[in-house]
Symmetry: C4
Subunit: 208 residues, 4 copies
Amino acid sequence: MSREQRAGAVEKETGRLESFSDGVFAVAITLLVFNLQVPHLPGAISMPVLGSALLAQWPSYLTFMTSFATILIMWASHHGLFKLVYKTDTPFLFANGLLLLLVTVVPFPTSLVTQYLITPAASLACAVYAGVFVVINVAYNLLWWAATHQRRLLHPAVTSRQVKRLTRNQLLGLPLYLLATLLAFWNPYVSLGLCSCLWIFWAFTYYI
Amino acid sequence: MSREQRAGAVEKETGRLESFSDGVFAVAITLLVFNLQVPHLPGAISMPVLGSALLAQWPSYLTFMTSFATILIMWASHHGLFKLVYKTDTPFLFANGLLLLLVTVVPFPTSLVTQYLITPAASLACAVYAGVFVVINVAYNLLWWAATHQRRLLHPAVTSRQVKRLTRNQLLGLPLYLLATLLAFWNPYVSLGLCSCLWIFWAFTYYI
Amino acid sequence: MSREQRAGAVEKETGRLESFSDGVFAVAITLLVFNLQVPHLPGAISMPVLGSALLAQWPSYLTFMTSFATILIMWASHHGLFKLVYKTDTPFLFANGLLLLLVTVVPFPTSLVTQYLITPAASLACAVYAGVFVVINVAYNLLWWAATHQRRLLHPAVTSRQVKRLTRNQLLGLPLYLLATLLAFWNPYVSLGLCSCLWIFWAFTYYI
Amino acid sequence: MSREQRAGAVEKETGRLESFSDGVFAVAITLLVFNLQVPHLPGAISMPVLGSALLAQWPSYLTFMTSFATILIMWASHHGLFKLVYKTDTPFLFANGLLLLLVTVVPFPTSLVTQYLITPAASLACAVYAGVFVVINVAYNLLWWAATHQRRLLHPAVTSRQVKRLTRNQLLGLPLYLLATLLAFWNPYVSLGLCSCLWIFWAFTYYI
């Protein structure tokens, strides 16, 4: 068959890999709701007591929103990356699997920070949280490298400029999340604040 | 490439955004089942005791059905909105992300009402519940505005009449859910009843 | 546009309704795994003790498999039904929503039977379990009626024979599940056995 | 209609079966995160205490990664198998359902090993874990047999060489997982190690 027909056939594989990945992203992002627990009030229940208990849970709201936004950006980046890729091979498939494993893990450090942010162990919890994002960034770089190595999985129409811009964006995240990880041992709130701001930065630099 | 081919290519992006959104809606609506807890019976177990315990859980059945119906309507509205949109850009993408975040949150106020409906804190629980729907309505209006601003993401074939009708429907929800939020402090059951009736109203005004 | 082009456009709506429904079915069927709990062993842990505890959980394995098989059959029936439908309207959309609500509920009576099968309240638990399937069957009949009423949503190529056969199969389930519900008050194991056998019956009468 | 048009129509059925299966795989793989529990620290909380508690959970990290990788490989194999299949029938549909049931079960033995790996009951837990993979391999062989029996569901273009290679790969897994099951009674760590290594083996022998 012609090259064109072959590419059309291979697109279907990318299609199913994308839909499976979308499924994992959708479930991981939705499972974050388990981070929002209804407070259990021993003793007399009243509106002020419930209101205070709800406010006291602010770490869970903050981490829920930060993690949701970060996974959303990851999905958008994944989507953007797949627009440039038109076929897959085994290394790419398993680099993608590593990325999905790490996305799946995000609810765990999110719960860790929720539970230990206002304790003496906050630094370690926030370091684990930022550290997971460091490893996710490494996984993204691996995935992008698997796609761009000798341009073997890229659409022929993809320009060098597009490749360079995406490479630069992927690499930029690494030192910033490393910084957030180290900052956690100085002040966990600053580390968490940096993680919250970073998704805003990605949002403004992201282009479909 | 021609405009037509370009539009065809861009459709695919909308397609993946839709499938990711459908995934989040599907998971959020299904996770509501965790609101239905099997009663634990200390002491002697018998059919009347289990029957009484199951009936005593009526708040969880009511909120489960109301939340399920409301998320279903949200999905149908989302589907209807995307029928008029043929491409995406960054503001639209993140307005959609905000909407998904709020849809993801719905199981939390649902559990809150389930647990505190028959306590002195019912008003606050129902106010949070209706308040989440207020914010969701705002998010929908943001999404629709991001799509219609200068008609930049709309299909050329979309008529002004369609735009006006959808805009009116989106805006109408805001005062009604605000009313439900305020009513919660007067009588939480009336507030919950209004939330339950509102999805019926949307069901009858909804057109594919 | 021509009727044909219009139908092509409408197919896309059915496509998204199907993918959303598939998402709910997939999540509901997978959440059944929460019915399988790891036993907690107080006191000395050894292989015979763990083995006994795992065997003592046989109600959870039985109900997990029955519920999984039943939801799978429901999905296959849903798939078969949608093959005959080529467009949607509002009543059909909400009949489908009712069906999804009930599919979403299945893990709850499944847990109820798991927990109370070997107690004096087993009859009530099994009656609720079979009763949910009765209501699901009613929802299926509603959905099918919404599609076939004046043939308004059916593909023109669908034969009367196909319609009659599917109608007969849908209706047949109702008395059988009603019987299982009533049998629960005589002997809950017979009721559960009938529910387990019914999916086998559907499996053999099901045709793609 | 022509054979070709008929095949095109039937492809759509395979498409929906694939998307439903992808949904179950995506949810099952993501639910593994519940295996990662945030440690609860009674008494004084500090970074060393939290750090020790996190390290003490190494069985959950190991089983999470092994199960994630194994389900990922299963999904890739499923994807590879469906590339060769172009239509479905009832036996194939239910063989696929059996496979999905077993994939859905994986979080349960994963939790079992997490909880009992460092107890005297480790052998039984690891035997159940490896045993589930034995049964999954049997289900895969059933599915492949349902597809290849008289070549009735295979694409005409599929070569005998492709069929033989996939058959050999499917069959090879059976004795290896059986070995892991038996090894569990000699040394549970060796059994778990073999399960961890097996997915690496499949990864290197897997071709899209």
